[in-house]
């Protein structure tokens, strides 16, 4: 039964010490050189994030000989911290699938007076005439309702960007949808 496999997967002893088999929610930051690794590690640890420096998995062909393991879901927040520290990684990839790449497909639905763009699990819908964001849907991380609360009812130019106030992978997917709908608006 499930308890057996649960025990097999194990429980982390503390925040950030992942046991083998329970790393699906962890990611890897890949950097150009070790100076960036050290700067990033210091910044993330100072902010209280459970990160650890380790050797890269064999699939990783780019970057230096060290990578940083981080909470994958918090991609947007981690990225903001690293940009502040001027230690931007070459890549941010899942531990369990270093070769997986983010969804890069956009789906657009034209509702006449409204336009909706979807990226991965996130959708943003605007009123065409005013470019007001009328709805945000999809996603499962807790910043999605927050992003919707802060963005819906504002125009694309007035609304805060997901990359500024979001924290998670869902927030990042919404950023991609936001960028795509802005691109489509500027092209029209």
């Amino acid at each position: 039964m499930g308890l057996l496999s649960f025990l097999k997967n194990g429980i982390r002893g503390g925040r950030g010490q992942a046991a083998e088999g329970s790393k699906a929610d962890r990611g890897i930051l890949i950097f150009e050189n070790t100076s960036d690794v050290i700067r990033a590690e210091n910044r993330l640890k100072a902010a209280g994030w459970p990160v650890r420096v380790m050797g890269p998995p064999p699939e990783i062909q780019r970057g230096c000989d060290l990578v940083i393991e981080f909470p994958l879901i918090q991609r947007l927040e981690i990225m903001r911290l690293l940009e502040e520290a001027q230690a931007v990684p070459l890549e941010m990839v899942p531990v369990t699938g270093p070769l997986l790449t983010p969804v890069d497909l956009f789906q657009t639905v034209d509702y006449g007076d409204w336009l909706m763009v979807r990226a991965a699990n996130m959708k943003i819908c605007i009123e065409k005439s005013t470019r007001t964001i009328v709805n945000i849907s999809g996603g499962g991380c807790p910043d999605v309702p927050y992003l919707a609360q802060e963005m819906v009812g504002k125009s694309l130019t007035e609304a805060p960007r997901p990359r500024e106030i979001g924290h998670t992978l869902c927030g990042y997917a919404l950023e991609l949808a936001y960028e795509e709908i802005c691109r489509q608006c500027s092209a029209s």
Binding site: W114, G140, C141, P142, P145
Partner: protein, 290 residues
């Protein structure tokens, strides 16, 4: 007894537990009010709306503020680990929580101590964590949309953001994705896949579909999946088998949407308002399942 577990988009909102009621389109819990917007408040709003029509056992919500930093979710996870075994819930619905495999497993371990074991329903971030942890089969019902189904079907994806393109391209082939999700043990006992057509499925394949009435604008609206999950949870708590509750939830959600006559700009509270009327109609006119 039904327990709703989730978050509200307010960083200052403390961990609050207690019964729910609705006042002037707002949820009231523990002396605090919450707007019925997308997310767990929409799910809870649907539950309260069902209670206006059907006698439900006691319903509580365990809510905490979290805007995506995960701090509120971790407080709630810790609360669940300790408190779940102390309560006689018959149905627990887990919703918008920061996906965290470690905490998810601790919660599931707490569930193992509950006798009898409650019906477990998961959606949103908690469903992501359940799949990530490899424990999806421990749940009775997941309520993914088509994109989330693709994530469940992709054995390698740790989050919908990383669903591989060759799987994502099969979105119009829902039965195949359902089969793949079960093949890889990444699905709950029942799946209610919401979309242009709603599918109820189990390991043996699709068992029922609901495709009417159709309101295409609902896809753009935030919260329509949350109300569906809330309806399924409430109807299960009323005593129905989870599969029957899921199909009825799909019919009620669609009818409530139809009655609200939505545009892509309609907000979810407009649909929640229609749920009591829609539920009465569905109860009075049992439909044929395909």
């Amino acid at each position: 007894m039904l327990c709703i577990v989730g978050t509200v988009p307010d960083a200052e909102f403390p961990l609050v537990t207690g019964p729910l009621r609705m006042e002037n389109d707002r949820l009231v819990i523990g002396g605090r009010t919450v707007a019925i917007q997308r997310g767990t408040p929409a799910l809870a709003g649907a539950v309260v709306a069902v209670a206006r029509v059907l006698p439900l056992p006691p319903v509580q919500a365990w809510l905490v503020g979290d805007i995506g930093r995960g701090d509120g979710s971790r407080r709630l996870y810790a609360h669940l680990e300790v408190e779940l075994p102390r309560h006689p819930w018959t149905v627990v619905v887990f919703h918008y929580l920061q996906p965290d495999v470690d905490w998810h497993n601790r919660v599931l371990f707490a569930v193992e101590k509950m006798h009898p074991r409650p019906v477990l329903i998961a959606d949103a971030g908690f469903m992501y964590a359940a799949k990530m942890s490899g424990q999806a089969r421990e749940y009775d019902l997941f309520t993914p949309d088509a994109g989330e189904l693709a994530f469940l079907a992709d054995e390698d994806a740790p989050h919908p953001f990383y669903t591989r393109g060759f799987i994502l391209h099969q979105e119009d082939r829902v039965p195949e994705l359902i089969h793949r999700a079960y093949q890889n043990a990444n699905a709950a006992r029942w799946l209610l896949v919401k979309g242009r057509t709603d599918y109820l499925a189990c390991a043996e394949g699709v068992q029922a579909t609901v495709d009417a009435p159709a309101s295409p604008a609902m896809e753009a609206m935030g919260g329509t999946g949350d109300t569906l999950t809330g309806l399924a949870a409430a109807l299960t708590a009323s005593g129905m088998p989870v599969e029957r509750a899921a199909v009825m939830a799909a019919r009620v959600n669609r009818l409530a949407g139809h009655l609200a006559d939505p545009t892509p700009a309609t907000q979810i509270a407009a649909i929640v308002r229609q749920i009591p009327v829609a539920l009465k109609q569905v109860i009075d006119t049992p439909g044929e399942l395909k």
